[in-house]
């Protein structure tokens, strides 16, 4: 299953793992894949700590980072807005709807004076959609031994690609439709990630069976990774069959032993079926696939809902709510109903907590058994390859 991207990045298996959790990133790189740390929810200081930890953990093995660099930002027309200015743009009715929801589901306020570093996973993420903050994070990352920068939410700035290339770092761009490809190629990316409808997070609406070969043909000879619906070796093999050079995975790591996923959320993910996700604007303001929860249902279908706000205004409401929900979820059934997270449809196949290494090895082994089945067509057993 070695493809040119394996050589390009010095990895054993073309399995890329996006995670907000440094433990997962390190474990994937140690198992032969490429761990990729999502940086958007960190501060530059904390990122420095995380990357130092990862490098100590994995030694010389390669790893990468993923940044959200929005091509268009709310407030651009006003020359960019500060966090305080963004806060001021949230209408009172939306704020009230969010607060009333939390009350309705029995989620208390946070204890007064709680520090951002004390059990508030989302406090640092309130600036996640700021371009300046994202570039400051990348400045930190560029001082480290990363091998890959992935750019979500739009093509990366050409200057970033140049800086990365000067340091021998490869750049990948996520696309959800063919029409977005040119902007990335023009920016000079080395790899395109075709993110399909099935995927967690900010997705388009083209299914992977169609999107992957379409993007492969559109960008050849630039290598393509398939993202969306990949948690097992059969899906990994399908991605390679479609012409991708590797798999970009995310959801599957949320239920691994190493993942610092909130325990209640982990349980919800393990129980969820492939029908329990929804593409909703209720989390970030942009369409993103997340678990279907009371939070998404109330925003999307309650007749009293004021409708969701544009990104990042909606995210500011969600981040505040999520901190309250996480804290309350141990004791409040209502909080558990509201609790959600980005999750792909593949969540339906995630039914057991496993170590990261086991997930990787099982993907590889299952890929090999598909390959063996396919190889049989060329032997005397060719007449019956199953």
């Amino acid at each position: 299953m070695k493809t040119p991207v394996c050589e390009m990045l010095g990895i054993e298996y073309p399995i890329f793992a996006f995670s907000h959790c440094r433990d997962v990133v390190a474990a994937v790189s140690k198992a032969g894949g490429l761990g990729v740390l999502g940086v958007a929810r960190l501060t530059p200081e904390k990122l420095e700590t995380e990357l130092n930890w990862i490098e100590k953990e994995i030694g010389d093995r390669p790893y990468g980072v993923d940044a959200q660099i929005p091509a268009k930002l709310y407030g651009d027309e006003a020359g960019g807005l500060t966090l305080a200015e963004l806060e001021a743009r949230i209408p009172e009715g939306h704020r009230k709807f969010a607060n009333d929801l939390l009350s309705k589901y029995g989620v208390p306020e946070l204890p007064p004076g709680l520090s951002p570093d004390s059990g508030r996973n989302y406090a640092d993420s309130r600036e996640a959609f700021s371009r300046d903050k994202e570039l400051a994070l990348l400045d930190v990352a560029l001082q480290h031994r990363i091998k890959l920068i992935a750019s979500a939410l739009g093509a990366p700035p050409p200057q970033l690609v140049e800086d990365a290339h000067r340091k021998g770092i490869r750049v990948a761009g996520l696309v959800g439709a063919k029409k977005h490809v040119m902007r990335h190629l023009d920016a000079g990316v080395d790899i395109i990630i075709a993110q399909s409808y099935e995927a967690a997070g900010h997705t388009g609406d083209i299914g992977g069976m169609v999107l992957v070969p379409e993007i492969v043909d559109a960008v050849a000879p630039v290598p393509v990774l398939a993202a969306g619906g990949i948690a097992t070796g059969r899906q990994f093999a399908a991605a390679l069959a479609l012409g991708a050079q590797g798999a970009w995975t995310g959801s599957v790591w949320l239920t691994t032993e190493e993942a610092e996923t909130h325990p209640i959320l982990k349980e919800k993910l393990l129980r969820a079926t492939s029908s329990d996700t929804v593409r909703s604007r209720a989390e970030s303001g942009k369409p993103a696939r997340v678990l279907r929860t009371a939070w998404t249902e109330e925003w999307d279908t309650n007749p009293a809902s004021p409708g969701t706000l544009p990104s990042p205004l909606q995210w500011l409401l969600s981040a505040d709510a999520y901190d309250r929900i996480e804290r309350a979820a141990y004791s409040s059934e209502g909080a558990r109903q509201l609790m959600g997270y980005g999750a792909g449809q593949v969540v339906g196949l995630m039914n057991q907590v496993k170590p990261v290494q086991q997930v990787i090895f099982e993907m590889v082994d299952e890929y090999l058994s598909v390959a063996q089945r396919f190889a049989d067509v060329f032997t005397e057993n060719g007449g019956s390859d199953r």
Copy 2:
């Protein structure tokens, strides 16, 4: 690529082709796949003619039929409704909206007294959602040398499965989610068709990368065919990698040489991208993936739209409109904008008219090159299989 379903049905390649066009059905069976005629839009008399023609054309080769047997029908609570009773339930406002749309886009009425057999492709299809008519069609089919009956829109009646099995005919059931599987297994189907979000027609919302392995695991050892997003050998290989025993295809045949697709529609399909379809209730009243057209947009997004009607009431309006649109499309730009058809996202990869045989042979050859690439992992070239 031979799988047990090849032996079960006596076919060379596990490529199943759904089509309303007898020429396509015959050409697929002659090329080594299994042609499957959609019967829902025919009368029993015409079906008799079509099946006799196909059998004369293909000799001893196997073929099948596909029927829509709705599990639940509008009017069931009233003991079933006649066509006239259904017509009477269409509100005046909806009828007016449909007629006004046709006027707005410059589509004239049909010439007075036009017979159903004179250039009205949809006239016979107005009873397509009647259970009695569908069973009458199947009575005709059961008197022929068919090898397969596929049941869409719900599990087949157990009596039908029994009748089919007594004649050595296999029965397949289409499902769009795991929760529908048990009803089909209980009815005794021999094959499950996992129809994904990408597919044309009445689809669910789970992408193929997730749905196929999920259904394969849920029904094992019953064989599964993958439907949705399959037009090329890479996609065929991906379906087999996911654990399917074959591919159930549909859209790809619409632009073949043999297909009796309306010439203007064929052009629209060849030009369409993967983003040019929509899951809409505007055609049949149930969510179905179709080309995005002025017809779907006006029903779904025009503020003046009265909303779509339940199936089959909406279909009665669509069928009447489609006959007028087909007739006008040669000369009216408006008719061309309204003109649509069931089409999967894979329409973005259908850019050239080809003979049916070429499509099949290219699928097989491309599958074989994927298999060769996968097989290389076991040889000295294993280090670089692309």
